[in-house]
């Protein structure tokens, strides 16, 4: 028990130092523009299909369920509003973050972990290259930029999917559906979701790179680091979402 507590405290300490070091790295030269572009492409552009597909599915399923639920009350025209507001405030950032943790967060931890166990990070240190700046900063910056962008896209695609099902399949009247949706949905709702996504992106990048950076014990250790990175960052974004929802609501 005592050992477990000490280990946990050590982990928190190591994470705090890593976090501080990564913060300092953001403002220190050299600025690695090419690496940032690579990460923007990997995290952002290459994630468009998976985020598009998952948000389309969520929008369609949500719409199907909501229409069935609201039809007995003749309130099915409100489905557009419910889907759009829920997506903007909660579902789009959460779905986007969870998909990106699975796709990119695990890859970050595995890639950096492999570099650790094959001494590639040590090699950087011998050349006086700060590995935290080299490996973490571009990923953190790219996540902060791309999570909100992809969340915005998820909003649009999800709302479109919901409209297709409600109007095309469930015969909800399109004009009223859209009119109600645009009347209730505000720019603040969308902005709220994007701010959440940026925070989630930061948490994902910093947690996943941390676990990769301190990976040890060969291939098994890298696998364990990836698993821990995915689990911890998933839990962290859900807690952060709750805290932010309370803050925005309050």
């Amino acid at each position: 028990m005592q050992v477990a507590i000490i280990t946990t405290l050590e982990q928190f300490g190591a994470f705090f130092l890593f976090w501080m070091s990564s913060l300092r790295s953001v403002f220190r030269r050299p600025f690695r523009g090419r690496h940032l572009l690579e990460q923007l492409e990997r995290i952002g552009v290459e994630s468009v299909p998976i985020i598009g597909l998952s948000s389309l599915a969520i929008g369609m399923i949500f719409s199907l369920q909501m229409v069935q639920l609201l039809q007995p009350f003749r309130a099915e025209v409100a489905v557009g509003t419910a889907v759009a507001v829920t997506l903007a405030r909660e579902l789009a950032p959460i779905i986007t973050a969870l998909m990106l943790i699975g796709k990119n967060g695990s890859a970050m931890a595995a890639e950096i972990g492999t570099m650790r166990v094959t001494e590639q990070i040590d090699a950087m240190e011998t050349m006086s290259v700060d590995p935290i700046q080299f490996l973490t900063t571009p990923r953190v910056m790219a996540c902060i930029v791309m999570f909100p962008m992809l969340t915005l896209m998820a909003n649009v695609v999800g709302v479109f999917g919901a409209w297709v099902i409600a109007v095309g399949v469930m015969d909800v009247e399109s004009a009223t559906y859209l009119e109600q949706m645009f009347r209730v949905l505000s720019a603040g709702d969308i902005l709220q979701g994007m701010v959440k996504a940026a925070v989630m992106g930061y948490l994902t990048a910093i947690i996943c790179t941390f676990y990769g950076y301190y990976a040890e014990n060969g291939a098994q250790g890298v696998g364990e680091a990836s698993t821990r990175a995915v689990v911890t960052s998933s839990v962290a974004i859900l807690i952060a979402d709750y805290v932010m929802a309370m803050a925005f609501w309050g």
Partner: protein
């Protein structure tokens, strides 16, 4: 005065003492080999030489500069004098061979001219006997090729000292011999000081000017290969007997 002086260095990780008063002088232009059992702190010692690890007590000097008291900027300058050839080569697998060798040119020397970097990379690959592999990925190379590319990357900045961490481990005897020859070439042709960690006792006696035997965190025996061969230290005798008996079999 010795190029590198290590004075009474102690280092522990938690309760495990790795270095327990290690002292050693490394002379300019020589090949110094460090041998010893696994887990005696040989790699930890290397990391102290270039300031990646700081000792709990003790001092390390590179010429007139105390590595152990150096600030970050001084350490960056000191590390420019060192190249480090890793046991597993430690090539960046997201980059091809040319990008790997050019990496320290850009990051350490600040060379941004791509043509100049490409010329230096090509010269380095010619020198290690692997011309034309610039576009290959590390995964496409054999173990021996990877080690040689790792040496090329360590050499490209023209350091004064090259540290070899178990250069022949994991290689067959023929390839191992190629790498040992490369160590000698680096020392003779480029006039670099070489420090080698190895388990290859036979090779260490053949290529070294000086051998240091590490045992329980201190240098138990040091001297020329002849002096070490005459040592009465029981573990050194056992090491040497086992290695040369293998040869006779």
């Amino acid at each position: 005065m010795s190029m590198i002086r290590v004075e009474d260095v102690y280092k522990a990780f938690g309760e495990i003492e790795i270095l327990r008063g290690l002292s050693l002088n490394i002379e300019e232009g020589e090949i110094t080999t460090i041998i010893g059992q696994s887990g005696t702190g040989k790699s930890v010692f290397f990391k102290h030489l270039i300031g990646i690890l700081k000792p709990d007590t003790g001092k390390i000097w590179f010429h007139d500069t105390e590595v152990t008291a150096a600030d970050n900027d001084t350490l960056v300058e000191i590390r420019k004098h060192f190249g480090y050839a890793f046991q597993g080569a430690a090539l960046f697998d997201s980059m091809n061979v040319a990008e790997n060798i050019a990496f320290p040119l850009r990051e350490v020397l600040g060379i941004t001219d791509k043509k100049d970097a490409a010329r230096r990379v090509s010269e380095m690959l010619d020198w290690i006997g692997l011309p034309g592999i610039e576009n290959k990925r590390p995964a496409e190379l054999s173990g021996g090729m990877r080690k040689r590319v790792g040496v090329a990357r360590a050499l490209v900045t023209k350091p004064d000292v090259l540290l070899f961490d178990e250069p022949t481990t994991g290689l067959d005897p023929v390839l191992g011999e190629t790498i040992n020859d490369l160590v000698v070439r680096v020392n003779k042709e480029l006039e670099l000081t070489c420090v080698v960690i190895t388990h290859d006792i036979q090779a260490s006696f053949r290529i070294s000017d000086k051998i240091a035997f590490l045992h329980e965190g201190v240098v138990a025996v040091e001297g020329s290969p002849k002096e070490v061969a005459r040592s009465t230290h029981p573990l050194v005798k056992k090491f040497i007997e086992n290695s040369f008996n293998e040869l006779e079999v």
